[in-house]
Symmetry: C2
Subunit: 380 residues, 2 copies
């Protein structure tokens, strides 16, 4: 017998009541029973995104909605800014290049956030920037980028929109779309939304919808205007992932019951405890200055490969976390604390981490990650 624990930054654990809802017999997506589910989901998503706009829903992973944000809003040759400070920032650049946009890249060392000033300078030097792309939370490095500050820079520019990949941001920390003036917010189901992967979401501001009217890039499956037209009528343009939408209704009800502010506070508490824990045993944070509350990237101690930490946790303790990707491979490991997670998941993760590190010959001395985390968690 080996129990399994999922503490990776997506997919995240799915609550039993959601698994149960999704295992009910399938309903037809044009029948009234689905329409009822979908109406509830539409309302719940507006609450989650903190917007009055329609939140569009696609059968896809988050990358699909990212591609949609490019293909629906821009035209070949449009000049845009992307921030390459991790795997997902790099992805914005790849998608924009694929569609023939002119990409100005701000390279940021992995583990650091972009400085708003860097964006401001580029915007000042280029009056024709059509879009600024960012990750609210760069999952590959555990960095939170300064979304609110960048939004301020773009807000009053009529011909520039601000596009936010919030895949590990939505439902983790505050990203009030309407209040902050975020023009596009995209996310996925398998992170703080506590669902299996397979749903992607996108919401657009009025300004972004105006961009949509003049965009000439090809799109069909991820046609935002077509999807909105259908959503308003209570249906989807193409066959939706019915069982995941049924699960989504449960999840949104759970989030509403807990309250968005409490959801954010919980993630803040778990992240703070995790960071305190790993630092207490002498490990360094990979993103100490602007850490995301979704996932904590930890530098592997000297002489120990980060991939071995991941492997030992999985094989010896049944705990799945994430390693580093690309240039960070081997150098870091990532402990996630988003979605269906609570205080004792942090204790589980840190307890297992301590044991794995001991297996790998790391000297804990008298230090305890668990104790440091407990002291934070008990403050609530």
């Amino acid at each position: 017998m080996k129990k399994q624990y999922l503490l990776a930054p997506g997919p995240t654990p799915v609550p039993p009541r959601v698994l149960q809802a999704m295992s009910m017999p399938i309903i037809h997506h044009r029948a009234p029973a689905y329409r009822e589910v979908f109406e509830e989901v539409r309302e719940g998503l507006k609450y989650l995104f903190q917007t009055q706009q329609e939140v569009l829903l696609f059968a896809a992973s988050g990358t699909g909605a990212m591609e949609g944000a490019v293909a629906n809003l821009f035209s070949p040759g449009d000049k845009v800014i992307t921030v390459n400070g991790g795997k997902f920032g790099e992805r914005w650049g790849q998608i924009a290049n694929t569609y023939g946009l002119k990409v100005l890249t701000i390279d940021v060392p992995w583990g650091q956030a972009v400085e708003p000033r860097q964006i401001a300078d580029l915007l000042a030097a280029n009056s024709d920037i059509r879009g600024v792309f960012i990750q609210a939370s760069e999952t590959s490095t555990g960095v939170m980028h300064p979304v609110r500050e960048i939004a301020e820079l773009v807000r009053d520019r009529e011909d520039t929109i601000f596009v936010v990949d919030a895949v590990t941001g939505t439902g983790v920390f505050a990203l009030p779309m309407d209040e902050w003036g975020l023009d596009v917010v995209v996310t996925g189901s398998q992170k703080a939304l506590m669902l299996p992967p397979g749903l992607a979401f996108a919401a657009l501001s009025e300004k972004a919808w105006r961009f949509n009217e003049t965009s000439t890039l090809p799109r069909y499956y991820f046609d935002f205007a077509k999807e909105r037209k259908n959503a308003i009528k209570g249906q989807n343009a193409y066959t939706p992932a019915v069982s995941l939408v049924v699960g989504l209704r449960e999840v949104l009800a759970m989030i509403r019951a807990e309250g968005l502010e409490n959801v954010f506070a919980r993630h803040e508490r778990l992240a703070t405890a995790t960071r305190a824990g790993v630092q207490a045993i002498g490990l360094a944070l990979f993103a100490p200055e602007s850490p995301s509350n979704a996932v904590t990237a930890v530098c592997a101690p000297e002489g120990i490969d980060g991939q071995d930490v991941v492997k030992t946790l999985r094989t010896a303790y049944g705990v799945t976390i994430a390693g580093g990707q690309d240039q960070a491979k081997g150098k870091i490991f990532r402990l996630a604390h988003l979605g269906y997670v609570d205080d004792l998941d942090v204790i589980t993760g840190l307890g297992a981490l301590e044991m794995a590190l001991m297996d790998l010959g790391y000297d804990l001395k008298e230090r305890s990650a668990v104790r440091a985390a407990q002291m934070i968690l008990k403050q609530k």
Copy 2:
């Protein structure tokens, strides 16, 4: 209490063991546990598609794979043939137009199949045709198109590929990809694959992969080459719809256990019985000459609106079937018999239909759809 019966041409009922498998705790898509599932799925899909080629898998509905087939294989200005004889044939044309292809459309009256001669004539008159697009089964009209005959016409043309939407064909009737020389076959999860919607599939011949090398259209999420490169290494390019893939393993095991030939024979039997049943009570088939074994489109009797048949079945008997779409709306209704369906599902459907028709004032006289179907079903 009102029991619910799903007899629509997608989504179709999901077998209990599949629902159960999908309700297990989620696994991480980069962990060995997923890799094991995915390896089994890759083999099973090759068996299902009757191909040695890799069958690619996307978190999307079938339309996503259709779009991928255009965006990965063609270039702006490429001349292609589509057959507009229903809603999905029309969709091939829409997607091709979206991507700037030059579309030659063969208009076929709804309810009829295209004649291979029509394709042959267009091919003869245009040496530069790059692609021929068809539906194996046009779900909106219940028509089966002559896939094998069209494949023969395209097979020896080095610069033309044959693209088959098999969304309601795969797993319903024989479409041996390699043997017939089909260049692209796409399908979805929520039809004969007995899964919830949310997975799309595409397989390409060697000829089609050569087209991929020269295609200049933009694609990112549905990047076939990238997906194949990853699949060969036992993983997916982007986060897959894990729970659906876990369900897919069960479904493919069920199909293997039944045997593909037996699966086809079952669909043939159920379709034959359904057609005999509705004709026995004086109703006309909408596609009498080339009916698909996936779904039977039935002409509403004079004086009765097809939508009322659908509505009565749902509200009075808990049976969900499909109505007509677009130009066929009100004129037909569609009884599906694909996926997780067996003899008594046909009896259930026809029995409920008889009752609904009586409610709507249709005179059954001494005729019985159920009896006519029973006589066919008992022959097995």
